[in-house]
Amino acid sequence: MHTEENSRFAKTHEWAHMEGDVATVGISNHAQEEISDIVFVDLPKVGQQVTAGQNCCVIESVKSASEIYSPVSGEVIEVNEALAGDPALVNREPHAGGWLFKVKMTAPAEYENLMDLSAYKATLNK
């Protein structure tokens, strides 16, 4: 199961957690705090190809729209349907029930290039 500690992070504040060749993707606790009051998540479609570093999803808060960049490349195989009825789940549980989508990775090496939690946290303090 994905947790903050066993996930890896992109500098654009998404996390990924790899099991086999599937990565579960979400946004960091810091990101949800910054975005705040999430009211709609425009998720990618199942079957859609995503590319590491490219936007594939939009999170709407009351005040703004935030583009979400996939931390890894591959095919979207599942999206978090619970967010349709409860988008604020991303605020409450960014590293648990508030995950966004799962990607069947085509380049698992990309995962290794992401930061671990301590390296990610260090970027927040700069």
Partner: protein, 359 residues
């Protein structure tokens, strides 16, 4: 621009101490939110919230011709009874909107016009230019005054603890006050669609008022909640929904135009536009599908582009709401589509306000 380049209100430190997330708003460092926009919205709709609106401008107009001058630069009929305030638009000769503002008659021959922050300098220059043959003195005291808006169904009874008798003040009226050892003004006005007051005090007294209001349980609120509240209430945001390319008729504010007045700046242009009819009009929309409409989103009827949104947000009461300038054939009740992140979402044109205010 870094924060150090921004203008600060005398409440900046108090807002930061209360957890305000500070942002650049037209060159001012102001809180966009404290606890969160939804929580602050709820406080104002259900109890009482307060906003630092010290960036707003105060222009005093005094002299024998003060009222006649205000009648000249406003398209609405400015009330000339001590205590009474009037919402109006200040127009160019072309009839387009320089600012929307409330002018209060403090006493015979002395008025206060409270203007938008981003317009204060331009308004002042325009007032001076227009003063010409009028026997008036125009003073821009924006830098000397600070202001807190206290809004919500419990706002007035709460403020009554600090300003006894404020409950008797009528809507859109002003009263001079002595508070915390200083002279100031209280007006029964706001920008949220709720009852409430706005309190003006000299800069050095306003932080003490903020603290008193905190003690009385009034919730600090930021610009984020303010924008949702004002859009729900159907109020214009100057610079977004109104500017010097739009007339009051186009801005769906025809009610502030009094063509029966003998004369005012912009009257001829407005009379001509009224006779010709409008090409475009500020129209309100409620989203029928998922998403949040924002300024800049295009509005379509079928394949035909009808116009562009100037304001849009997520309302906790009505979900996706927006206003924008579209061709005048888009009547209330029309089905349209709004393009959001490349996806067309169904919406309906509706009459404003979205929120039927209780005031």
């Amino acid at each position: 621009m870094t924060h150090t380049d921004l203008k600060k209100t005398p409440l900046c430190a108090a807002c930061e101490a209360a957890g305000g997330k500070m942002v650049d708003f037209h060159g001012w460092l102001l809180p966009v939110q404290f606890e969160g926009i939804l929580a602050e919205h709820k406080a104002v709709r259900e109890a009482a919230g307060m906003f630092d609106v010290s960036h707003m401008g105060q222009i005093f107009i005094e002299g024998k011709d003060a009222w006649a001058f205000l009648q000249h630069i406003n398209c609405n009929n400015i009330k000339n009874e001590p205590g009474a305030g009037t919402y109006s638009h200040i127009l160019t000769e072309k009839g387009t909107i320089i600012d929307d503002a409330i002018s209060f008659c403090i006493m015979p021959e002395k008025f206060l016009t409270v203007v938008n922050a981003a317009c204060a300098d331009e308004d002042y220059a325009w007032f001076q230019k227009q003063a010409g043959s009028f026997d008036v003195t125009v003073r821009n005291e924006s830098a000397a005054w600070a202001m807190i808006a206290v809004q919500g169904p419990k706002a007035v009874e709460t403020v009554n603890n600090l300003i006894p008798g404020v409950q008797e003040l009528a809507r859109f009226h002003i009263r001079e006050i002595e508070l915390l050892g200083a002279k100031g003004y209280v007006t029964r006005t706001g920008y949220t669609g709720e009852d409430g007051v706005e309190i003006m005090l000299p800069n050095d007294k306003i932080a003490a008022l903020w603290d008193e209001l905190l003690k009385l349980g009034v919730k600090p609120c930021g610009l984020g909640a303010r924008d949702v509240l004002r859009l729900e209430a159907g109020y214009l945001l100057n610079g977004a929904d109104a500017d010097q390319t739009r007339t009051p008729y186009e801005a769906n504010c025809g009610w502030v135009v009094k063509l029966a007045k003998e004369n005012f700046v912009g009257k001829d242009a407005l009379a001509a536009q009224k006779a010709q009819g409008l090409k475009e009009k500020l129209t309100a929309f409620v989203l029928k599908g998922p998403g949040v409409p924002r300024a800049g989103c295009k509005v379509y009827a079928g394949a035909e582009e009808k116009g562009v949104l100037t304001s849009g947000t997520y309302s906790p009461l009505f979900k996706g709401i927006a206003v924008g300038y579209v061709t005048a054939d888009v009547a209330a009740g029309s089905e349209v589509e709004i393009e959001i992140h490349g996806r067309k979402v169904r919406a309906e044109a509706v009459k404003t306000p979205f929120y039927k205010n209780r005031v």
